[in-house]
């Protein structure tokens, strides 16, 4: 019988297999990169809001405490979004004609809440309670990033399960004195100081990492 395959026939399958291997490897690497990328985790992606509220101005430059607006953070699962009245506490007197604040005034006049768009969001199967984290001294900045440096609100950390578990398995370096939870800049704390404080705080509060990564802690 004559030859079935052309002289190049042995090359093409080899090239094909080689390209296939390269493609699969590239796909795996791309996939691995993608799930950690800002595109998927939303880190640093600014979310459109009805009013371009600047945390940089209010929390950073004016130094207003986080809890002035997010009043529920110490006692409730949700930190709480401020009611329109909270904005108007000051803005009834200053920047009263600013076009930027028109939606706020309209909200107050109509009695309809502003519709802010969620920035920091956990999936519904994850149970999260702000109050316990705050009262044990997990500072805001650990999860939300340098909010005081964000002109427009964006997600500061990837809210992946790995992000939660990293801290739950080794909370010590992340803990701070509970009376300073809203402090943003901790650059004067060395790693040793943080670890030392964290160790003592864990002893004082009976924090046991071996229980903190039980499934039922977050998935209830």
């Amino acid at each position: 019988m004559p030859q079935i395959f052309t002289p190049s026939a042995d090359t093409w399958p080899r090239v094909g297999v080689g390209l296939g291997i390269v493609a699969v490897t590239a796909a795996i690497l791309l996939g691995a990169g993608l799930v950690q990328s800002a595109y998927v985790t939303s880190v640093d992606w600014v979310v459109d809001q009805p009013v371009p509220f600047s945390h940089l101005h209010h929390a950073g430059e004016l130094g207003i405490d986080c809890r002035y607006c997010h009043a529920g953070v110490e006692s409730a699962p949700n930190a709480g979004l401020p009611a329109t009245e909270v904005c108007m506490t000051c803005h009834s007197q200053i920047w009263t004609g600013a076009p930027m604040l028109a939606p706020v005034r309209e909200s107050l006049a109509k009695g309809e809440p502003l519709r802010w768009n969620r920035v920091a969001r956990l999936p519904d199967y994850a149970y999260f309670d702000h109050s316990i984290h705050v009262s044990r001294g997990v500072p805001c900045v650990e999860c939300h990033g340098r909010v005081d440096e964000m002109p427009l609100m964006k997600r500061g950390e990837p809210f992946t399960m790995a992000f939660c578990l990293d801290c739950h398995r080794d909370p010590a370096p992340h803990l701070r004195p509970p009376d300073q939870v809203t402090r943003m800049d901790w650059s004067d704390w060395t790693a040793e100081r943080a670890a030392d404080y964290g160790r003592r705080a864990m002893e004082a509060h009976h924090i046991e990492p071996s229980r903190l990564d039980d499934c039922g802690v977050c998935h209830r």
Binding site: M1, I4, F5, P13, Q36, T160, A162, L165, D166
Partner: protein, 441 residues
């Protein structure tokens, strides 16, 4: 086309080019395509509406999906085992049976594997069973038979494909050299990888083939062990039994041989292979069926005995439920279909007659399905708390999926019968050559 045209072995390679029963094949293929469509529809319904369309619920949370999984996987054991064991023991009668038995294994393992994936609820996340670095920083729980099972079924499937393909490479080469159409030449040529039958190639091939066969045998045991332990590791009365791995293994081989009997008789008749699948082969299948049937029967007896002997009230209650409870029909149906017709195989005349053998095979196939159903449902429907007792009825979509899955098995199997050599041609030739040599000597 000299005397080769009359050669029954040579006919095998001519079947794809000149199929002897096109009408019957098209009818069967049409039916299996319809079943395949049913499969797609029932999977679509499942994905759109969720597992709520099925009847399983607490306490019977596994239901038909896992019954069928165990049943298909059991059938999928015979092919590789029959092929590997008979090769290692040097039985030449193997050559007429191994190729299609292995194909049967492949397709039924695919069917088996689909069931647990589909019953996950979110089937598209089945890959979570595999260990890979992820942003959840969790890994599979390797102390659980569930994780073992994932590896067992996956590796068994790939291992069976490797075994089947390795054994078929020389036949692909023969098909390549036999084919006249360009498409077939290229397709078989690619599948044969340029096999040209050099003596040292054959020598290395034989080393590899025997090794893979030897490795396939413990693999079969590993798979049955993993899914038997899936049951046995649970604190469910009637399940938590040390005999389960052995019991499941015997049952698996038993049901597998039953299906091999059906397929062997059908192919023998449809493709006119009487000269190759001889009475001696049918006798072998009959003997194996009878032997494994008794091993399975021993499993039944041992199961009942250990329950009674244990003195454990729950175990005895479960046994009582099996005999007289809501699902007693499945227990007695399994006993009746598995063991009563089987006794006919004591007679050589029945063993070598194709139709009775196939009918007994069919009876055992159904009986083993009932046994899987009985084991699973009677273990679960009487939970530990009376408040948690419940009754399970498979829903329409469960039955539809089951019927559709038979299409998933039949459609590729029919394509295999139609387009690939159903028997190992070169091995048949080798065996005939060796027989002649022995005759000369």
């Amino acid at each position: 086309m000299t005397d080769a045209a009359l050669d029954p072995i040579d006919r095998i390679t001519r079947i794809p080019g000149d199929f002897p029963a096109p009408r019957a094949w098209w009818i069967c293929f049409g039916v299996s395509l319809a079943l395949l469509l049913l499969f797609l529809v029932s999977v679509g319904v499942l994905l759109v509406f969720g597992v709520g369309v099925w009847g399983n619920n607490i306490p019977v949370n596994w239901g038909l999906a896992i019954v069928n999984y165990v049943w298909f996987l059991g059938i999928g054991h015979a092919g590789t085992l029959i092929s590997a064991l008979l090769l290692l023991t040097g039985t030449t009668r193997r050559n007429a049976l191994n190729r299609f038995a292995e194909a049967m294994t492949l397709f039924s393992v695919i069917c088996a594997g689909l069931f647990p994936v589909l019953h996950l609820g979110r089937p598209w996340l089945f890959y979570w069973m595999a260990p890979y670095p992820n942003t959840m920083t969790v890994w599979p729980q390797f102390k659980s038979p569930l994780a073992w099972d994932f590896f067992a079924v996956l590796i068994y499937l790939i291992g069976s494909i490797l075994f089947w393909y390795l054994g078929a490479i020389p036949d692909f080469a023969a098909m390549r050299d036999r084919s006249r159409s360009r498409f077939a030449q290229v397709a078989f040529g690619l599948a044969a990888l340029g096999w040209r039958g050099e003596a040292r190639h054959w020598a290395r091939w034989r080393q590899a083939y025997r090794l893979v066969a030897a490795l396939a045998v413990p693999l079969v045991f590993g798979v049955t062990a993993s899914y038997a332990l899936l049951f046995a590791a649970g604190p469910v009365p009637g399940w938590a039994s040390g005999i389960f791995p052995a019991y499941f293994f015997c049952g698996a081989i038993f049901s597998g041989f039953a299906v091999v009997a059906i397929i062997a008789v059908t192919l023998r008749h449809a493709l006119g292979l009487g000269a190759l699948v001889t009475r001696s082969h049918l006798n072998l299948i009959g003997q194996l069926l009878l032997a494994t049937g008794f091993m399975t029967g021993y499993g039944y007896a041992a199961d009942a005995f250990t329950a009674l002997w244990s003195g454990d009230a729950r175990e005895i209650a479960t046994l009582h439920d099996r005999w007289t409870g809501a699902y007693a029909w499945s227990y007695w149906g399994a006993v009746a279909l598995n063991f009563l017709p089987l006794q006919l195989l004591w007679f050589r005349r029945v063993r070598v007659s194709p139709v009775p053998l196939a009918l007994i095979g069919l009876s055992v196939t159904i009986g083993m399905w009932l046994e899987r159903y009985m084991l699973l449902v009677t273990g679960l429907y009487r939970d530990w708390l009376v408040s948690s007792w419940g009754i399970y009825h498979a829903s329409f979509w469960e039955w539809a999926l089951f019927a559709g899955m038979i299409g998933v098995f039949l459609a590729p199997f029919l394509l295999f019968v139609r387009f690939l050599p159903v028997m190992s041609v070169f091995e048949l030739r080798e065996a005939r050559h060796e027989k002649r040599e022995a005759g000369h000597g």
